[in-house]
Symmetry: C2
Subunit: 204 residues, 2 copies
């Protein structure tokens, strides 16, 4: 979570990137609806007019923030590992990389997952999330058709459960300051549980 | 989600139970912090003093609401299926029944999962949730020690992923009005994915 600045902090010049980091922290803490430009200005330790110099309003900050998450997730689906090979291997690639992107862009994905749809930008973000989910559900469907998944798997339901597991990581995952953002241990646990389940092989 | 009443609805006498149902709906919609007694009175179509006749304030309604969820979950751990047999079978019973309780008490569990810890009642609810999670993590640990789970499973991490998957059901599950509350299809998908994974047997 980006550190908050306050009015007593030394005045380092704000860039659109550092302002975005501060805004995401405030949006997560207060909720997007509950955040005013005044709150953002106070957290950034700059005046409202300095913020208006960068962006026309808070909705543009929300758009940039959720784009950080959505662009990262969409890029996964265009990686070679997601486009070639058996569908089950492509699906595994997508699950692994989605989990990594969630950790790399933790505040942005956290914000994305809290978006509710009250503004045009929120509805646009939800629509992009839906498209991403559909593309993953299509991979599940193909992997099942190719005989690599448990027979009778419901692609839409399984995609929901899979992302339920992955997305819940934002609730508790807190990387160490200055350490690596991604935990390979968590990624491996997600992959093993999703594809092989908890039970030891041969013990079903 | 309980239907809202408004001031034009016929005046049926309120009982503590119907008031609780209305309150839970409002808490979920507005957030607990954002809900005033005025909001509750308007949603229930009764006066604030009628609400004060039943309860000393909104925190008591929150306590009763999250107790509906927590009592249901705790009761699962005391069922015979959770107390006897190999740990892996006990764990499977707990996962199955937890998923069922979530569906049966959907609004109450939804509210419980949004509790953040700003009041004494919220902190008490979080503490009860933590105790529940610890008891399940202990079952995971025992099942691994008995050789029934993948070797090297991390009980705390797996418990988090497991409940991440289960709890995410509140985000999208909406039973048909007047139909059964529990979907056996969803319960079976949770059990299969959690214990056997998505991959077809013999295809790892």
């Amino acid at each position: 979570m980006p550190a908050r600045r306050d009015a007593t902090a030394p005045h380092t010049p704000y860039t659109p990137e550092t302002l975005l980091e501060v805004a995401v922290g405030v949006f997560i803490e207060r909720g997007y609806d509950g955040t005013s430009m005044e709150h953002l200005a106070r957290a950034a330790g700059i005046s409202k007019s300095s913020i208006y110099h960068h962006v026309p309003g808070k909705e543009e900050l929300l758009r940039r923030a959720v784009s950080q998450a959505l662009d990262g997730l969409d890029a996964v689906l265009d990686e070679p590992g997601a486009r070639a090979g058996r569908s089950v291997e492509r699906l595994e690639h997508v699950v692994r990389r989605t989990t990594e992107v969630l950790m790399e862009r933790l505040p942005y994905v956290t914000l994305l997952l809290r978006v509710r749809g009250n503004t045009a930008t929120e509805r646009w973000a939800l629509e992009r999330r839906r498209k991403f989910d559909h593309r993953v559900a299509e991979l599940v469907r193909r992997a099942e058709a190719e005989g690599d998944l448990r027979p009778g798997v419901d692609p839409r339901l399984e995609t929901r459960l899979l992302f339920g597991m992955i997305n819940s990581i934002v609730e508790w995952y807190r990387p160490q300051r200055g350490g690596p953002q991604v935990s390979p241990r968590v990624v491996e646990a997600v992959i093993s549980t999703a594809f092989n389940g908890l039970r030891a092989p041969g013990r079903s």
